[in-house]
Structures are given as structure tokens and as C-alpha cells.
């Protein structure tokens, strides 16, 4: 297999190691297109051989082949996404020559079982042999012949009974021939039942050889497995519905010819173009054979202009301009009649505005971001990317999807991240659930106005370029519109881990259980999601368990103050302390306590210290801001002194972990009002402060 592919002209020469066999994605390289088709051919040929030996393969190696053959470009990734669905997050395809080994493995033992089954059928089908003849036929009656009627082959020497392995084939309207059921057989006449699709042509006898198997399953299986190239290569199988036979030969005098037969044949009935813009004029074209009368009726959509009467067997009608600000679909039916029956065919056109997609902006968000990505990013931290796409529609056209005028949804979107330092390209996977829409005047304060992605952690390091490719999938069979693309370059900066020294406080006066390390960790969820800490960015020192006396019970307001003071005082008592970090004391989750959390905003020379009731994670972000030196925002409730933060956030905030969104204008996290989220100044202060204490 490798030798076959390596011997192909497209792979000859010195450039081979840089090339990649792209079974997917568009290409202007004719040689590559040929190679693509040949590769599928090799694949089928190999599978034929293996299928006949009865070997089986699994999905993993089949997926491996797809990865091996796929181009890492966005368009190809889109196609791979459709083929593999949830299997997107696998390593990028290797380059030649490694992938050749993958194809070898695929051919040896690794295509989909369905493909193998179909291939086995091809092999068996290809092994069958037959021959045809028309000897002895002098006349055929009646004429014309209709489907499901009897046809008599007159002549001599047919034999008194139907010979074994000999059947009668009659012509079909599609140009081939088909076996007809024999009603009676004598030496002078053979009477058969005409099939529904009987047509003009020659009738006669076929002597079958071997066993018959239907092979057409291979096209669907391989198309699913490989994609469009396989469909092209195996298209011929679709026409195969019977054993390989040569249709009966026509006798020189036309003795075995059926001159006219069967129902009308509709050769063509369709619109050109099938898709028009508002104001466009689709043309309906038809061509019918073997009919005595035809009619064209409107099933739905705008009525057709009057046609000549009677309607000719071939013709065309151009519709008047199809206008409007909503999609229009026209469906029409052609009915053709003759003495043998009725044939119908349907045609359809659509009018809708074709979007001209463009990527207007890409925002890389870890907590809050500006339109131009000026907020600094932390390496190895959960990150989301918001891609804003303009539809290019401004005339108010409404697709009726509920998104409103000028907006299109259900776009296909791919985002890749290329590390500009290492060259590694990573796929960001499927977008978040949502309308995946494009439109003019998108609002940053609406999360669903952008197409949003999670970024793999491995991609969040150094200088990174994010590239987005957006496509609007057309109706089945239609050519997709040109994809829109955009990119943005950002830098991820490493930040140190933040150290903590937990205190687990047992209060015998409380009925609530003593806090645990899990309670401590749960409290850190808020800062982890809102502040510039990297993944695994907390170093937790061994917890110090403390047990309060009855006089120190936290049911007393004042005892909270004194516990905080004592915790902070303690940091001064020993000059050389080997472990440190923010002192965070977790107290039992007792709802009767007067406080949920308590901290001293301005700590002076002391180490930042806070008391937190177990189970109250949400306000830890606020307290962590204090620990880093931030003061309150004056919202009329939080006490002074106040720092320089604004009351509300200037840009939308996003909790990437929970996908919770905070529109601009939400309250600053250092206020007592909600919903609240860190502002840009808050984030930048933390960015500069970590690690503190």
C-alpha cells in the first residue's frame, strides 16, 4: 500500500516530507485531487482484499485514518467535525510519511466494519458472470407495452420449458434492462410480466452465472468514512441494483424491439438556479418523453406565469422577480400521462438573502476584556474566546428563525489556536451552546451575540494567534457560501502560584461540624474563577486546626473581631516562619453566626487574614481583593476607606468556568451590591499583586 501511494506522481520529488495527503478540504491542485481519488481507490482495493479474508476493524483506527488524511486547516476541520463529532479533540494529523503507515494499518485492519461488509459484497458481486442472447425471437406484442401488462415473445426454438439459469430481460425507461417475471414458456412463445419501468429497447434472454449480491452499500459507508472524495470514486455503485449482465442484443431486423413502452419519462424538471436572492428570477425547465399530456401545478409559493396550451413536452418558464424580506420557497409538480399511466416529478426553488459573513472582532476573555484585548491574560488559565460575526445583511431580511431581522444563526464555526512561539496548532473544539449567530450591530453585553469557545489549557501559553472560520451551511446539495475568517493575536503571561495557610476552626459551642479542607477549597472557587490565578494556581500549606474555648464562641459578634485580630497578631510572633501565605480561617457553617465572612481591608504590615464560614464561597472573591490590598467601592453600603475602583464594571465580565455572564454596568466585586464581578482595574491590580502575602 505504501509503495503504491509513494509511487504516485504527486508524491514524487524532494518536497514529499512537507506535503500532506489531504483527503478533505478544497484544493486547487489537480494532482492532489487525482491523488485523493486514487487514495480512496487504494483504500477500496485494499479493503476488497481484506474483506474477502474476513478480517475486521474498529472505529479507532478508522478515525485514525481520517486524522491522518485531514488537513489542519479550518475548512478541513469543519468537515472533520461533521465526520467525527465528539472525537475532535484528538492529536493533529501527522505528516508524511507517518500517516502512510496509518493508511496501511487502516487497510490491514482498520476501516469501519460496514465498509468491509460492503466491500465483501462488491467482491462477490464482481465475481458473478452472465451472458445474453435474442436467438429465435421473431416478434414482440403488444406495442406499445405498459408496465404490469403481459408481453409475448413470439418465435421458435425457445424450448418447451424455461431452461435452468435462463431469464427474460426487458428494456427499462432508464436505458438499461431488467429481469421480467415469466408467466408462461413454450417453444413458440414466452409470455412475461412487464415491470413498472419498462421502456423502449430490445427484449431477450440472459443466462446467469454465479450468485448475486447487492454492492451499493459501499458508497454510503465510504462516504461516511472518508467524505466527498469517496463518494465520487464510488458513485458508480449507486447505479448497481442487479447482477452484472449485458442487456439482450437487438436483432438486425428489429424483431425483438419494443418500440414504445411504459409510462412517460420525465428527463428534467427543475429550477435554475434553485436558490435566488430577493428580486431574483428562477427559471423552471422541463423535458418529458413518451407522454401524451403534461400539466404543471403549483404546490406552494408564487404561481407560475401562464404556459402555452397544450404544454409542450419540453420548455421553460421564467418566474417574475421574487421579492420580500422573508424567505420564499416555491414547490411545483409536473404530471405527465400516456396510455400506460402517470409519471410525476417535483421541482423547488428558494429565495433568501445570502449572508456575506465577516468576522468583526475576536475577544479573548479570562474574566473581563476590552474590545481590543488590552486586558492582560494569565498563562495556563481557563480562557474563552468570543467571536463576533457580521451577517452582511442590512435590508431587514428576516429568516424567521426568531433571531430577528438581518441575523442568521446555526453557523458552523471553527477556532484554532496557534502558538506563535512553538508553531503548535490546537483546535478549540465545538462552540458553546447557543444560536451561533451573525448580525449587524452585535452587542458585547449579550453573551449569545458572539460565538463562544473554550480554549484548551495547553493553548494558553506565550504568544498565540486565534483564527476563527465561520460558514453558513446551505441546504443539502447546495454549494456553501465562502467562509469568513478573522484572527487576533494575544499573549499569555505566566503568574506565580498564590500560597495559603488554612486554619480549620472548631467551635464547640456550635452544633455544626468542624470545617474540612474541602470547605477551604470550595471557598477558593470564587477567586479561582474571577481573579488572575493560573490553573492549579494555589499552593495550600498544611492546615492548622484550632479549637475555640467557650468564651471564644463565634456566636458572639465581638469574638469574630478578636479571632481575626489574634490570627493577624500571630504572624508577628515568630520572626522566621518557613510557611506563609494568606491566612484563611474556615469556621463551621453555622447559620446562627453573626457573620459569614470577616476581614480587615487594609492590613498594613500584617499578613492578609480572613475568616470565612464554610459553604460561603461566593464572597471569597471580595475578601481576596481585600487580601491583595483593594478597598471597598462606595455603593452606599460598604464601609470606608474607599479605593479607586468605579462602582460598576466598564466591560462585560465572564466566568469562564461556569459560563456566567456579567454585562457591563454590573457592580464591582468590591462593593456590597450584586450581581458583582471584578472590573478591569481590579483584575489588573490582582495581576500585579499575585502572589501576595
Amino acid at each position: 500500500m505504501s509503495e503504491l501511494v509513494l509511487g504516485h506522481p504527486a508524491l514524487a520529488g524532494d518536497g514529499r516530507p512537507e506535503m500532506q495527503l489531504r483527503l478533505f478540504g478544497p484544493t486547487d491542485d489537480d494532482g492532489l485531487e487525482v491523488l485523493r481519488g486514487h487514495s480512496v481507490g487504494y483504500l477500496v482495493a485494499g479493503a476488497v482484499a481484506l474483506g474477502l479474508t474476513g478480517q475486521d476493524v474498529g472505529d479507532d483506527l478508522a478515525a485514525g485514518l481520517i486524522h491522518a488524511a485531514a488537513d489542519p486547516g479550518p475548512e478541513s476541520l469543519l468537515q472533520r467535525a461533521q465526520l467525527l463529532r465528539e472525537r475532535l479533540f484528538e492529536p493533529p494529523p501527522p505528516v508524511i510519511p507517518e500517516w502512510l503507515e496509518e493508511i496501511d494499518r487502516f487497510v490491514e485492519r482498520d476501516c469501519f466494519a460496514g465498509v468491509l461488509k460492503a466491500i465483501v459484497e462488491i467482491g462477490q458481486w464482481a465475481g458473478s458472470r452472465s451472458s445474453s442472447y435474442s436467438t429465435g425471437i421473431t416478434n414482440v406484442t403488444p406495442s406499445p407495452v405498459c408496465g404490469r401488462s403481459q408481453v409475448t415473445l413470439h418465435g421458435a426454438g425457445f424450448g418447451q420449458t424455461q431452461p435452468a439459469g435462463v431469464v427474460v430481460y426487458v428494456p427499462t425507461s432508464g436505458g438499461g434492462c431488467r429481469e421480467a417475471k415469466v408467466d408462461s414458456w413454450s417453444d413458440l412463445a414466452v409470455i412475461v410480466q412487464a415491470p413498472d419501468d419498462i421502456g423502449s429497447g430490445c427484449v431477450g434472454f440472459v443466462k446467469l452465472g454465479g450468485e448475486y449480491h447487492e454492492p451499493q452499500g459501499v458508497t454510503g459507508e465510504l462516504t461516511t468514512c472518508i467524505g466527498a472524495a469517496a463518494e465520487v470514486w464510488t458513485r458508480g455503485f449507486e447505479r448497481v441494483g442487479r447482477p452484472i449482465v449485458s442487456c439482450p442484443p437487438c436483432l438486425p431486423g428489429g424483431q425483438n424491439r419494443i418500440r414504445a413502452g411504459g409510462k412517460p419519462v420525465v428527463n428534467r424538471f427543475r429550477f435554475s438556479p434553485e436558490l435566488v436572492q430577493p428580486g431574483g428570477q428562477p427559471t423552471l425547465e422541463w423535458n418529458v418523453a413518451n407522454a401524451t399530456d403534461i400539466q404543471i401545478t403549483t404546490l406552494s409559493g408564487p404561481p407560475l406565469p401562464p404556459a402555452p396550451t397544450p404544454i409542450p413536452l419540453a420548455g421553460l418558464i421564467t418566474l417574475p422577480p421574487v421579492t420580500g424580506l422573508a424567505p420564499v420557497t416555491g414547490q411545483y409538480r409536473l404530471t405527465a400521462r400516456n396510455a400506460c399511466g402517470v409519471t410525476t416529478a417535483d421541482a423547488e426553488f428558494s429565495m433568501r438573502r445570502t449572508p456575506l459573513l465577516s468576522v468583526t472582532r475576536i475577544e479573548v476573555v479570562q474574566s473581563i476584556q476590552t474590545p481590543t484585548n488590552t486586558v492582560r491574560l494569565v498563562a495556563n488559565r481557563r480562557t474563552a474566546v468570543r467571536v463576533f460575526v457580521d451577517s452582511g445583511i442590512s435590508d431587514g431580511f428576516d429568516f424567521g428563525t426568531g433571531l430577528g431581522p438581518n441575523r442568521v444563526g446555526d453557523l458552523h464555526a471553527v477556532l484554532v489556536a496557534e502558538n506563535l512561539d512553538t508553531g503548535v496548532v490546537l483546535d478549540c473544539g465545538l462552540p458553546w451552546p447557543g444560536p451561533r449567530q451573525a448580525g449587524p450591530g452585535l452587542n458585547r453585553d449579550v453573551l449569545t451575540d458572539s460565538i463562544n469557545f473554550d480554549v484548551p489549557l495547553a493553548a494558553c501559553d506565550g504568544n498565540v494567534q486565534f483564527r476563527a472560520t465561520i460558514m453558513q451551511p446551505g441546504p443539502p446539495g447546495s454549494a456553501p457560501a465562502a467562509p469568513a475568517s478573522g484572527n487576533v493575536q494575544v499573549s499569555f503571561t505566566p503568574r506565580s502560584s498564590q500560597m495559603f495557610l488554612p486554619f480549620l476552626v472548631t467551635d464547640p459551642s456550635s452544633a455544626s461540624p468542624p470545617p474540612t479542607m474541602a470547605d477551604f477549597y470550595a471557598c477558593l472557587a470564587g477567586p479561582a474563577e474571577a481573579h488572575p490565578f493560573p490553573e492549579n494556581g494555589f499552593i495550600i500549606n498544611p492546615a492548622l486546626p484550632l479549637t475555640l474555648s467557650g468564651a471564644e464562641a463565634l456566636s458572639s459578634n465581638a469574638n469574630w473581631y478578636w479571632l481575626l485580630v489574634r490570627l493577624q497578631t500571630n504572624t508577628f510572633l515568630f520572626a522566621s516562619q518557613p510557611v506563609g501565605g494568606v491566612r484563611m480561617a474556615i469556621v463551621p457553617n453555622d447559620s446562627s453566626y453573626p457573620w459569614g465572612e470577616l476581614t480587615l481591608p487594609r492590613t498594613g504590615a500584617g499578613v492578609p487574614t480572613m475568616l470565612v464560614r464554610a459553604g460561603l464561597a461566593e464572597t471569597c472573591t471580595h475578601e481576596m481583593g481585600h487580601a491583595a490590598g483593594l478597598l471597598h467601592v462606595n455603593d452606599g453600603m460598604a464601609g470606608g476607606p474607599y479605593g479607586g475602583l468605579a462602582l460598576t464594571i466598564s466591560d462585560p465580565g465572564l466566568n469562564v468556568t461556569t459560563r456566567t455572564f456579567f454585562p457591563s454596568g454590573s457592580f464591582e466585586a468590591m462593593s456590597y451590591s450584586g450581581p458583582q464581578w471584578p472590573s478591569i482595574l481590579h483584575w489588573e491590580h490582582m495581576f500585579n499583586s499575585v502572589p501576595f502575602a
Binding site: S549, Y561, Q568, F572, L573, P601
Partner: protein
């Protein structure tokens, strides 16, 4: 520089002071509404200022104001005067005699132990430090307390051949440090903490669960995140890493994390 720890709370217009410990350090350099004078014979020897800040309390409500820091406290100082916005709020004078402290050290450090202490004067506070390197570095293992016993959880202490405890007792002006004889404590090595899910958690079925853990080498004082292996008694291996999203089988099960021979477990219920 000789300083005194300072902790004060202003509530309902009344300033209360925690007895300070004499130690070494730099006094507060911040400006503020509090002025703390170290006195000798009623005359100031040193003056320190510091702010009095409103505590941040959740849920929102009226909190006290507090100040914590270090104030200059020369050797000859025998008293303290605290003024708020120029007005004297309180004045304290040292007891006439030095503090004498009796300590009962535990005979070994191998489990739940207790340090007992008794001072010659009332209203003393004590704190306790721990060293596993012969006294080069110290870790506070108790908060300042007036109780005459301090509990020690030896299982949370670093191992070493020269382990000492140090009790610090203060009457607010004079501080005594009493160091124990050396103990030998078995090294702890690596320990592992499961941070999520919590023990006893009831988790919904069919949703990924965040598993989180951290390793820590006690004696080397470093955290470990790599190579933490997870498994469930109900479903086998769950993945590797400090943070792993895992789908758990329904039912009661034990989640186990392992790293460098250290093991941690939590029992959870799914569904």
C-alpha cells in the same frame, strides 16, 4: 527593633486592646487616627501611628473598626497610651512584677498532646510555636489564648530529630519565651488532601464531578500536583491529575487519590 504587637477593636465607641507581645520588627509607618505612645513613668518614649479601619463583614452590616500592627516599644517602656484622633482613649501600665511562667511540656509528640502553662499574673496570653530544625525557623501552631492549656495535633506537625516547642507568654508589656527540650518526631513525607468532592457528598448522577487534590511534602515544605491518580471503588480508574473531571457510577463509593505512596479517600454517594 523592639516592638509590641498591637491589636485593638473600636466598637460602640469603646476601644478595646488585646495584650501585646514584645517581639522584634518594624513599627507601623502608616499615618492614621490612632496614636500609640510607649510610656515610661508617664512620659512618652516612642510614638507610633496607624489607621483604624472598618472591618469588612458579610453579609453587610455594621462592623467594628480595628487596627492590627506593631508599635515601637523601647526596653524602658512600662506603659501604653492610645489616642484616637488626638483624644486619649485608654492608658495601660505594666504590672509591677515580672511574669513568671510554669510550663508542663508533653513527654512526646505523637498524637493529641497538651501544653499546660500558668503565669504569675492574671490576664496573660500565650501562644505556641514549633520548630523541627533546632530552632532556626518557627511555625505558630496556636493562637494567642488566655486558656492554661494549648492542644497540639502532632499529626499535623513536621517531623525532625530536633523538634522544639516554644511558649510565648505576655502580660501585655513583658513577654517571656520558654523553649522545650528537643523531641524526635517521625517524618511525615508526602501527604495528600482531597479538596473536592467533600467527604459524604451526595452528587447528582450523570454529571461530571470535579476531583481535586493536592500533595504536600511536610519536611521539604513543597506542594505536589503531578501524578495524582484517582480511582473509584465503583468504577475503577478515574484519571490522573490535580484536577480531573470524572463521571462517577451511581451508588455509594469510595474515591481514592494516590501520589508518591500517599493516599487519601473520601466516601461519596452518586445519584
Amino acid at each position: 527593633m523592639r516592638v509590641l504587637t498591637f491589636g485593638a477593636v473600636l466598637q460602640d465607641g469603646e476601644l478595646e486592646l488585646q495584650p501585646g507581645f514584645v517581639t522584634e520588627g518594624e513599627p507601623s509607618q502608616e499615618k492614621g487616627e490612632l496614636t500609640v505612645e510607649a510610656l515610661a513613668g508617664g512620659r512618652p518614649l516612642a510614638i507610633t501611628t496607624m489607621p483604624l479601619d472598618t472591618l469588612c463583614g458579610h453579609p453587610s452590616g455594621t462592623t467594628a473598626r480595628a487596627a492590627v500592627g506593631l508599635v515601637a516599644f523601647p526596653e524602658r517602656a512600662t506603659g501604653l497610651r492610645v489616642s484616637l484622633d488626638g483624644k486619649v482613649s485608654l492608658e495601660r501600665t505594666a504590672p509591677p512584677s515580672d511574669v513568671e511562667v510554669n510550663v508542663e511540656w508533653p513527654t512526646s509528640l505523637s498524637g493529641a498532646e497538651t501544653v499546660g502553662w500558668r503565669a504569675s499574673t492574671d490576664a496573660c496570653l500565650a501562644s505556641l510555636g514549633y520548630s523541627n530544625d533546632g530552632g532556626k525557623t518557627w511555625t505558630p501552631i496556636a493562637l494567642p489564648t488566655a486558656r492554661d492549656t494549648i492542644d497540639i495535633h502532632a499529626g499535623t506537625l513536621l517531623g525532625g530529630r530536633e523538634v522544639h516547642l516554644e511558649l510565648i507568654v505576655t502580660d501585655g508589656f513583658r513577654t517571656d519565651r520558654i523553649r522545650s527540650n528537643a523531641y524526635e518526631v517521625e517524618p511525615q513525607g508526602w501527604v495528600l488532601w482531597i479538596l473536592s468532592p467533600p467527604a459524604g457528598a451526595r452528587l447528582p448522577a450523570g454529571e461530571p464531578v470535579q476531583l481535586a487534590a493536592q500533595g504536600y511534602h511536610f519536611e521539604e515544605r513543597r506542594a505536589g500536583f503531578d501524578g495524582i491518580e484517582w480511582e473509584s471503588s465503583a468504577g475503577g480508574g478515574l484519571g490522573t491529575g490535580a484536577r480531573v473531571l470524572a463521571m462517577l457510577e451511581p451508588g455509594e463509593q469510595t474515591i481514592t487519590a494516590r501520589m508518591y505512596g500517599a493516599t487519601a479517600e473520601v466516601r461519596v454517594s452518586v445519584g
